[in-house]
């Protein structure tokens, strides 16, 4: 049987790993290469690595770090952050990265997703949607690491992206980011029901049981960050990943 993918999501900022709460207050986690080496040893299902300030600061791809990571990453690896051109995607795939995660550029220029899918196949193009509830209680897609309102509704946007060739939706709740109080079930349900491509739920996971809630809401895969890099009430940095047995108990 196909396992539900459980995906650590690591945030890169100026070549170090950080973790945010509500997309703010980045806390230092450590060296990315070291952390990924540990996740590799723990045989995680897949890794997502996002450079969270790439778009805002208009940065180049962190090729050197990615090259080192890809050389010893024996699992599927997705990278996101500031990707704007087909040439950049080609460069990433040549390093040994499987998937690219596109957020701001998808919101600003949907045609880019179509072009990317035609060039590389949908299976390698992940569209990331950061969503937040506005004052009226409606969800809105926010681009550029949570700084730019788009006026788009995440359900319509996800459907549009799926139609033009996105292979997966990485659905992140800004309100739940770093909260560790559980996923935004309502958001997951709405988006997963609307598209026939896999939805990766992200934002809010605090315990293994939360994965089940997201899957029951329609997620095909689950991502978590704080849960895999923090330990205890005081959020001491400790990299962890559940064992296959622990995951099986909850997810099968």
């Amino acid at each position: 049987m196909l396992k539900t993918r459980v995906i650590p999501c690591l945030l890169l900022q100026n070549d170090i790993l950080v973790k945010t709460i509500g997309f703010k207050n980045p806390k230092y986690i450590g060296d990315p290469i070291n952390a990924i080496r540990i996740f590799n040893e723990k045989e995680v299902d897949e890794l997502v690595l996002l450079d969270v300030t790439a778009t805002i600061e208009n940065k180049k791809l962190p090729i050197k770090i990615l090259e080192k990571i890809a050389a010893e990453c024996f699992m599927p690896l997705a990278y996101g952050g500031g990707i704007k051109t087909i040439e950049e995607i080609k460069q990433l795939f040549n390093l040994g990265i499987e998937k690219v995660v596109i957020n701001s550029c998808a919101a600003e220029n949907p045609a880019f997703i179509k072009q990317a899918a035609e060039n590389f196949g949908s299976q390698s193009i992940v569209v990331s949607i950061d969503a937040r509830k506005n004052e009226l209680g409606a969800y809105e897609v926010i681009a550029s690491s949570g700084t730019k309102s788009t006026g788009k509704n995440p359900v319509d946007f996800a459907m549009e992206m799926a139609m033009i060739g996105a292979g997966e939706i990485f659905l992140n709740s800004i309100d739940k980011d770093g909260a560790m109080t559980g996923y935004d079930v309502e958001l997951i349900e709405k988006v997963a029901k609307a598209v026939n491509i896999p939805v990766i739920a992200s934002g809010g996971a605090g315990k293994i049981e939360d994965f089940k809630t997201a899957v029951d809401a329609g997620a095909s895969a689950v991502a978590a960050a704080s849960m895999f890099v923090f330990y205890g009430k005081n959020r001491a940095v400790l990299i962890s990943y559940p064992t296959q047995e622990e995951l099986k108990k909850v997810l099968s």
Binding site: L2, K3, F74, N94, E98, G167, S220
Partner: protein, 203 residues
């Protein structure tokens, strides 16, 4: 020496990385001399069936591969699209495959609307017969899959293992010196390492 055939379909650096990690000598090449000289071949591949066959043709590799694999019985392992090209044809394209196995490639068809296409993620194998490629592999082994089309063998003897996604489909095949796996061993941790090591040592 194993030669990973470079026919411009997706990233193959990760296969070389894994072979290095397990201490197997390998190179990446589309050069006739390299391919002739190597002891074994890996046919990788990501993407569309037609593109794969067109690229092999443009690089002038089809008759060379026929000679090496069919006449000289050089062991070859097809990965993902590389496995699918071993078949006669595919629903994904109108070109003929390498036709080394009596098989066709078809798209996943489900009644269950909850099953998404592609089949993406970690899945297990259900061994059907013994082979040196499967040495030491058990049902706890999991592999990383990404594909929308799958193999269908006319001769069930060619099937080494199936995988279940909506129904069982062949995920590892073998006919003599010709091997194919639908998943990505290079992205499957120690499980993929074991399989590639088996190919390097025992096949």
């Amino acid at each position: 020496m194993i030669t990973i055939i470079d026919y411009k379909t997706g990233n193959i650096g990760s296969i070389l990385n894994m072979l290095k990690k397990i201490g197997v000598e390998a190179n990446i090449s589309s050069d006739i001399k390299d391919i002739k000289k190597s002891d074994k071949l890996i046919l990788p591949g990501v993407g569309a069936f037609n593109t794969g066959m067109e690229n092999l043709q443009q690089l002038g590799l089809i008759s060379l591969l026929n000679d090496e694999v069919i006449n000289h019985k050089k062991p070859i392992l097809g990965l993902c699209l590389g496995m699918q090209l071993l078949a006669r044809k595919s629903e994904e394209g109108n070109l003929f495959g390498l036709s080394w196995l009596d098989a066709e490639v078809v798209k996943f068809k489900f009644d269950d609307k909850n099953l998404k296409i592609p089949h993406m993620g970690w899945n297990t194998i259900i061994p059907k017969r013994q082979s040196s490629l499967l040495t030491g592999l058990d049902s706890d082994y999991r592999f990383y899959f990404v594909h929308s089309y799958h193999f269908e063998c006319r001769d069930s003897k060619d099937i080494l293992a199936n995988t279940f996604y909506g129904y069982e489909f062949p995920s590892i095949v073998q006919k003599g010196n010709i091997y194919g796996v639908q998943f990505h061993p290079e992205k499957s941790h120690k499980f993929g390492m074991k399989l590639l090591k088996n190919f390097a040592e025992f096949c």
